[in-house]
Symmetry: C2
Subunit: 447 residues, 2 copies
């Protein structure tokens, strides 16, 4: 993935010009979290850390980028000093983060960035960008996987969204984060190559239409791909299509149905396949699927063995955005440390750097407690870990299979009430007395 450090908002640079002028050596601590968990989500899966680290490691401005900035009318009063400083700027701060694939909840910081005020400010835009979409995808994917096997039967789920993903890069994220979330593979070859994700595919209607008749198309495909043939049977008439499978080849792996009433047509197709002795040939479904539709299909005992999920996953159609925010929690200038927060009724932000602990009961997650950094709660694992120290990566994001396994294990520990299709319960996140006291102090100070 190639990112430009110019992938930032203009105001990050204008503010930095002033920081540079007045607070040259000031330091900031920023935290990134989700303000409101969406209605039909009882948990979120943290994803995108891999891209955050890659970006911070390579953070720098190119000469031509600095030239562009210098020539903007808005910077006419800004000294060259500042632009020279930008040209030499690297990320030399610290990154604290939850592990990639961690479950998290409302108001829990998943990332803390510490360092010079300019570098910690400028990276805001990119960090929010990486985490928002990847987290949405990993979370939705895990729901799709969960409801696809709600009857206890494991079904294959493949990510089919490349064509409708909001950009090439988004399609790569979608394949990566849906795999973490529990999908079994992707149709996206680029993502398959880069992340070593298993790739799957079937055939298109255009393919069937290129041949003299449907059966010929089926036979020719089977001829070249005898171990992996999935025949698209609904180009003309689904039932008639299924009738032809027995003549296409002995080991057709599956048929695909992409239209019509899936519940009815899958049952009819199963009957025909079984009648023809094709008990091993599976039924694979695609077309406008999401967790709601899949739940309906499974609940109706449709004999389906797998799903290809595209558009509604890659656009997070039932919940297209997430209220991710990146906020200053501590500011240090000339030895003076100021813990900052937000005091309005509806948007409370506890001041100061934080740490998070998760409590279990009978093998299930029970509650999280957010503390001030440094507060020790028993001998418990800290959820925020240091990944970058003074600009050097000191902890690596594991391989994709390990992350996928980690997600799976956590989801098994999450009680069902937080995993409901609609209106799941709210997982308890508590704030320590120390944080509450700090907030109260800040309130009193600001009147």
């Amino acid at each position: 993935m190639i990112y430009s450090s110019l992938f930032t908002d203009l105001y990050e640079i204008t503010m930095s010009a002033i920081y540079y002028k007045y607070f040259k050596n000031a330091k900031g601590k920023f935290e990134l979290w989700v303000r409101n968990i969406p209605e039909n989500r009882g948990y979120l899966i943290f994803s995108g850390l891999r891209f955050v680290i890659e970006y911070l490691k390579n953070f720098h401005f190119e000469k031509n980028e600095i030239e562009y900035l210098k020539n903007l009318e808005v910077f006419k009063n800004v000294d060259n000093d500042f632009f020279d400083y930008l040209l030499n700027l690297k990320f030399e701060g610290n990154l604290w983060a939850m592990d990639e694939g961690s479950l998290f909840f409302e108001n829990e910081p998943v990332i803390r960035i510490e360092g010079g005020i300019v570098e910690t400010q400028i990276v805001e835009t990119a960090l929010l960008n990486f985490i928002t979409y990847n987290t949405l995808i990993a979370t939705k994917a895990s729901r799709i996987v969960y409801f696809s096997s709600i009857d206890g039967e494991k079904r294959n789920i493949v990510e089919f969204g490349a064509r409708r993903a909001p950009s090439f890069l988004a399609s790569i994220y979608a394949a990566y984060s849906s795999y973490i979330g529990g999908f079994d593979g992707t149709s996206n070859l680029y993502a398959g190559k880069v992340f070593n994700i298993p790739v799957f595919g079937t055939m298109a209607h255009s393919f069937v239409l290129s041949f003299e008749d449907e059966l010929e198309a089926f036979k020719k495909y089977y001829d070249v791909f005898p171990d992996s043939t999935i025949l698209l049977v609904d180009t003309f008439d689904t039932e008639k299509g299924v009738e032809k499978v027995k003549n296409a080849g002995k080991n057709v792996r599956a048929i695909r149905i992409d239209s019509g009433n899936i519940i009815e047509s899958s049952k009819k197709a199963r009957e025909i396949l079984d009648r023809d002795g094709l008990n091993e040939t599976g039924i694979f479904i695609s077309g406008d699927l999401d967790e709601y539709k899949i739940f309906e299909i499974v609940e109706n005992k449709s004999p389906v063995n797998g799903f290809g999920v595209g558009t509604k996953l890659v656009t997070n159609s039932d919940c297209p955005y997430l209220s991710t925010i990146y906020k200053l929690v501590e500011f240090e200038n000339e030895g003076k440390i100021k813990k900052v927060g937000k005091l309005s009724e509806d948007k409370i932000t506890y001041p100061g750097a934080k740490q998070i602990f998760r409590f279990e009961e009978n093998g299930y997650f029970k509650k999280d407690v957010v503390c001030e950094k440094g507060e020790e709660i028993e001998e418990r694992e800290k959820l925020l870990k240091k990944y970058i120290e003074n600009g050097k990566v000191i902890r690596n994001v594991p391989g994709i299979e390990k992350i996928r396994e980690y997600v799976k294990k956590q989801l098994e520990k999450l009680p069902e009430k937080y995993k409901k299709l609609e209106n799941p319960e709210k997982y308890p996140v508590e704030f320590s007395d120390k944080l509450k006291k700090n907030l109260k102090k800040l309130k009193e100070k600001n009147g």
Copy 2:
């Protein structure tokens, strides 16, 4: 923009292996269109052609990409011949398209690709990807612009979505397509540089919190940016924030309000600014805006001069996806031409290559007629134009300002009933008798 040609679905390559084996010299014609226009859209703005052309010009596989494919288990029966062929493959076909920024409607092809069956098939995934998101953004942006000045007053609209866009590349598309759709600029520096889009910015809450008090933050910002200062006034208390503006500097361009009841707080802010003689200082609004919210704000006569629109634009939140499809309409093998289409009741696809003509009445668009390619309807402009011929670009996409102007002129010609906020009327798209006859023939042939 850098794309890999491996940005495609696995099935495009498996199908191509069979095409290569059985129809080495076959040719295909594919058309790309939108099957169903979303509920609250009365028109669409074609955007993304720029990226399609760039991609087709550079279409090729790298050696390491071919190695990856060869080593996939699924290709174990496929001869090396095919992979050598892929390694040398370029796009040598034709691209027909509407001009970038053209208004279009349901079931109208906006792109036609003609060429060898393999290359025309493989490009499906990327082409759908480029057009879907860009078209959604350009269309939504144009609605936002329209409703922001529904009272006749022009307001500045800036794209603020980089942080919540689904990927870095999506943020670039969002800035490009929203500018085409009528936005006045973006906060995204990278997009600003690449497309020469005006860039705008204000300040963040973190900036205000870094200073001893709000007024000091205001003064320091104004000191460096006296001609472009937009003061964020809602960090503590909006009214108290506005009271401080007069002491920040004489020519503060605007204030920004990012939270609370915008209708009330903008009216109150206007009062305070006017009382303090700051009649020239504008009011700029941000925070979860879209055309619905903006319409409400404008309709309530809020004294607002500009809007920053982010999350809900870049995620197309009221309509996150579009039913774009790419379908084979003609297949030619060994001199035999077959026009193909889809016959099912709900998904009619007229067979054969098409052309589109637009009719006007009293200076307004009246209806479109889709014909078979070659059918001449009077002496009228053809909406589909040839951009690439035998792999060579013969027509260029104009500069971004020209496209923006073109969009504006077309929208002025589109009757109001197609531009409604909710449930706009359906613009009439007719199909020629010739197309209908061809469809009937195909139906009879297929029984």
